[in-house]
Amino acid sequence: MSAMLETLVNQPYKHGFVTPIEEDVIPKGLSEDVIRVISKKKNEPEWMLEFRLNAYRHWLTMQEPCWANVRYPKIDFQEIIYYAAPKPKKKLSSMDEVDPELLRTFEKLGVPLHEQKALAGVAVDVVFDSVSVATTYKKKLAELGIVFCSFSEAVQEHPELVKKYLGSVVPPTDNFFASLNSAVFTDGSFCFIPKGTKCPMDLSTYFRINTQDSGQFERTLIIAEEGASVSYLEGCTAPKFDTNQLHAAVVELIALDNAEIKYSTVQNWYAGDENGVGGIYNFVTKRGLCKGINSKISWTQVETGSAITWKYPSCVLLGDHSIGEFYSVALTNHMQQADTGTKMTHIGKNTRSRIISKGISAGRSNNSYRGQVKIGPRAQYARNYSQCDSMLLGSSCRANTFPYIDVQNNTGKVEHEASTSKIGEDQLFYFAQRGIGAEAAVSMIINGFCKDVFNQLPMEFAVEATKLLGLKLEGSVG
């Protein structure tokens, strides 16, 4: 039965196809010239190019971080393609003009782009390699003053907003991969929810890497003004290649007074094969700034893909009474490595944070939770509650927990709970004795384990996440 557990997670990756489409690809390699080319292709204003070049010059002085509990060969940044875009037939004015090949691709991925067929109540921006190819429900949202568009478009149409907020949460000098992203990012999503507006539908971006050897460096910026609220969803897939691809995104969230941003991710990048060949390096910087009083930022992530995940969606709780939340499920299988968690930085008074992390390790994978809770000297009566649970499937995987707690104010209250469990053969036998087969049993145990996180996901995503974990756990039983 333990052999069965080991292979229980052997599930072919369903999104591993390549779209045959003509792409505009620049040669491999990174230099100031390459950055100028990207900026020019995107017809960017001078300040945007300056932002990139400054980031690049700073990046050149930096060392790749090595503190994460992950192992991989050194990345040759000159072997990466920094810009790949499907060649547009002409300027698009409606969804009907999107290349049918692209429409088919996203249809196949379960992201229909025709608004009449689109997911009810969800507006989608789809990013294919380096560019955003379509955004649905844009007009409808615009009537409410909500801006939801590709990042490139925002630079053209709303330069003042981009200039004001870009880099204000994750500065271009923040860390190695954030600096690289600031230099070469190509597209992503931009959301602006004006004062007092509750976004009437979930906003969503679907990221797809298609080209071999291309990196994806997207930038997402979400701003919720005073009293505004929005729920944002992010999904990602990539074809199967036997080479590794780098995905180094930056996401910045800004919540002003009484604003609320809920950011949910279901990450299913290609994870490599069972021997660890291929797969995405997912090195992502995500951070939210609760700038205003009573603001709230909530991160929910279901991480199932990528060869390596290095990701810490964090909250800076600047405004008094602001709230930060982090709910995470990270599943690793085969040779996957994940070092993921969060940082909650309490600056304002009466700020509160909550961390619920569920790690599931299978195969020969290595799954680490790394989290920091920091209560600053002015953060009177700040509170944090953290719960980190790990579950092991089989006996060749690893789970680690690295909590860092730094309290500089004696009115603060920090709680940390952790547990490790294992799906045992006796549990599976107990299920079997009640007529329940191993697949259904494992799925039930895992879903029970992840319940607190799945409850936070918007409905469609919760269903999707449950299905995805089910798929990952399906196969070769018996």
């Binding site: 549990q427 079997a432 009640r434 039930m444 145990i445």
Partner: protein
């Protein structure tokens, strides 16, 4: 003997665990409507026999055969045995953190219904159904919302096993030391629950150390298992005799009879 009523037929069954032979030729016939008690000292093979019937992976059958409703039980996977109506009440019920008791019971019930071609129940219908069932063992409804067996006392776990038996309505129920760890009140409750579940078309094998359970669940046959064999079979009065005389004389009698033969 009416062969149509035979539920279980065990012929010369031997089995080992971790390379050590525990069962050394068990013979047993169980017919519908019967209650069999399987008694014996520690280490005699009682629980091993129960686990072999359920198909636990740690136990390897080394000889003999087991026919259940005329089919080779040993060829069936554990979940197939369950779906065919073989139920094991565990001596040490397993805890399953994070999975609510009601969700677990519903999945088990619906899986069984699917196997029997019966109607599956949605969560609301099942709630009505299960609330009736738990009355049988006087279980508090709050146990339905708790994780399966997690933090349950020994007695609560045993009641939960009987609830599962009530939900699955097995043809052949093997109760492995269901009486151990129960105080006298709980014993009565559990025994009463089991008695309500006996029907002319099902059968029960009670694995127990002690006679006291048999005051409440009256067996048709009492078997003494010793050294991996059934060494004596009698009626319910045999249990009383064992209570006063212990097990040694049974073994002695068996060995003497074999020497004579």
């Amino acid at each position: 003997m009416n062969n149509k009523n035979i539920l279980l037929e065990v012929r010369n069954l031997s089995a080992e665990v971790a390379g050590i032979e525990i069962l050394k030729g068990i013979n047993l016939v169980v017919k519908a409507g019967e209650v069999h008690a399987l008694m014996g000292p520690n280490g005699s093979g009682k629980s091993t026999f129960a686990k072999v019937l359920a198909g636990h992976i740690d136990y390897t059958v080394t000889g003999g055969e087991v026919l259940y409703q005329g089919k080779n039980l040993l060829e069936m996977a554990p979940e197939e045995r369950s779906r065919a109506g073989v139920f094991l009440a565990f001596q040490y019920p397993i805890e399953i953190p994070g999975v609510s008791n009601s969700a677990f019971l519903r999945l088990a019930y619906n899986t069984m219904q699917a196997a029997r071609g019966g109607e599956e129940l949605d969560p609301l219908e099942f709630d009505d159904f299960i609330r009736e069932k738990i009355k049988l063992v006087e279980m508090d409804p709050s146990f339905l919302d708790r994780s399966v067996n997690e933090g349950f006392s020994g007695g609560e776990k045993k009641r939960n096993e009987i609830v599962q038996m009530a939900v699955l309505e097995p043809k052949l129920a093997v109760l492995d030391e269901t009486d151990s760890g129960l105080d006298i009140d709980a014993l009565k409750v559990v025994a009463n629950g089991v008695n309500h579940l006996t029907r002319p078309d099902n059968a029960i094998i009670l694995v127990t150390h002690y006679q006291r359970l048999l005051n409440y669940i009256v067996p048709d046959y009492v078997h003494v298992i010793e050294g991996g064999q059934i060494v004596k079979t009698g009626g319910k009065e045999l249990a009383l005799e064992l209570e006063t005389r212990g097990y040694d004389w049974v073994r002695a009698e068996f060995d003497a009879a074999r020497a004579a033969a």
